[in-house]
Symmetry: C2
Subunit: 273 residues, 2 copies
């Protein structure tokens, strides 16, 4: 099948090689002929928007997404307002860089009250959506794995993310499917189908056994237990044919030379995704 | 409220002090006047069923559950048959010890095929249930946290566990609610309500932040973010008034003197559960 023999949809999420500067990441992708890159804002902040845009354009890369907005819940209205302002900046950065999507990692509760935190997430998205629309940028709600519920996101299932997105037009607010976060879900395929027309990103990596660490234990595609091609097929059946980001938090990968990591990504992507 | 001022429903799950032998755990509970104990089969195996029964009876303890049965999925029919035989022994042990419930930790997939593993779980429960009924023992399906999906259980939500239990009479096959495994679930309270009349056990501990370890990172009640009393109330609204097990896998607790751990459990149970 031709579609499995091409890297034209492959996007390198730069967190996969966090030691690389923005310049190194962009040049690495160009050398490896990887057509897409997903940019993180802490890297962007190091050299600024203008320089980043120049680097990306000169390398002929396209930006699949900006990571990340979100982090909506906070104990006070003042802090929630600050977070919203920061989200607006993320949207502006995405617009400047030609990225269609800002990925929303929605944030943890500031206390034990998870219901209130979930309401703040819904409010935050409602407040951010009109601004994003005016900038031509889409918001992608990424459910995180439930093991991050206390520290990173109270949005933990694809069904929940889709429910948050549904009040909005499907081309304005949608969901991001990251296999690491959703593979375990008994409702996965039903929820991917329900999210048809609303999937704004697809992230791949793997779940390795035994799992060495909550955050830094993700694996390279093919090294774990996730049914990658099955999930990809379901996501395509739901109408998503955009870039496929490789996003792996793994210390061993961070310690390897970046060009070797990119070569391995390309190989495993063709074999397993 | 009187019900929050009593330890009459408190059960000590002996894994919380894994260094203790069966005798030490039983005598520790007796000294602390904790009325219930949950027994693990690896401890039982060390001294045998007869001696365990004698110890428990002499101490005036009641056994809230036997941990654990399950582990149904396996690559070959021969291994699945062995697992079923082992589950029958767990049921017999529960009957001998006067425990109403065998806790089922359903097991991981032997490969990447999580759907087949889930079918084997359903088949295993179907095959085990008549035998359990004939022994007067109930089967409690415990959904584990999704972070254990690859290594311990393909049953990862309360809704999924309840769906597995529903083909059976509610007094024969039910579910175990362990706050650590389910607290993150956006459907938690709806699913507890759905499981009304079918809850066979309630386990408490806490989710600590930052989470130090997947398996050994559980916290003492009150040290984390779980809304313990809210969940307890929901479980009671669903008709469960049986023993409440304290089950904590935590290296720091394992390293403390057992009697101190029991004293702390009693205090935190009264304060937070």
């Amino acid at each position: 099948m031709e579609k499995f023999n091409s890297i034209e949809r492959l996007s390198f999420n730069q967190i996969t090689q966090d030691k690389w500067s923005m310049r190194e990441a962009v040049e690495g992708c160009a050398r490896a002929q990887i057509p897409w890159i997903a940019l993180w804002r802490h890297k962007l902040a190091e050299i600024g928007l203008t320089e980043t845009r120049r680097l990306v354009r000169d390398a002929g890369l396209r930006v699949s997404s900006i990571c990340r907005g979100g982090m909506f819940p906070a104990a006070t209205a003042a802090i929630r307002k600050e977070r919203l302002d920061d989200n607006r900046r993320a949207v502006e950065e995405a617009a400047e860089l030609g990225a269609e999507v800002v990925v929303l990692v929605c944030g943890p509760a500031p206390d034990r009250d998870i219901d209130s935190a979930r309401k703040w997430v819904a409010e935050g998205i409602e407040q951010l959506a009109p601004f994003a629309r005016s900038c031509g940028v889409k918001l992608g709600i990424e459910p995180l794995h439930p093991m991050f519920a206390a520290e990173r996101s109270v949005v933990v299932t694809l069904g929940q993310a889709t429910s948050l997105a549904e009040p909005f037009s499907p081309d304005q607010v949608g969901v991001i499917v990251d296999v690491f976060h959703v593979w375990w879900d008994p409702e996965l395929y039903a929820q991917i189908s329900r999210a048809s027309g609303r999937i704004l990103g697809f992230h791949v990596n793997d779940w390795i056994v035994p799992t060495p660490d909550l955050l830094m234990g993700r694996g390279m595609m093919g090294d774990g237990v996730i049914e990658l091609r099955r999930i990809r097929t379901a996501v395509e059946d739901a109408g998503y044919f955009g870039p496929i980001e490789v996003e792996i938090f793994n210390q061993a990968l961070w310690d390897q030379p970046g060009d070797e990591v990119l070569a391995l990504i390309k190989q495993r992507y063709l074999e397993h995704v």
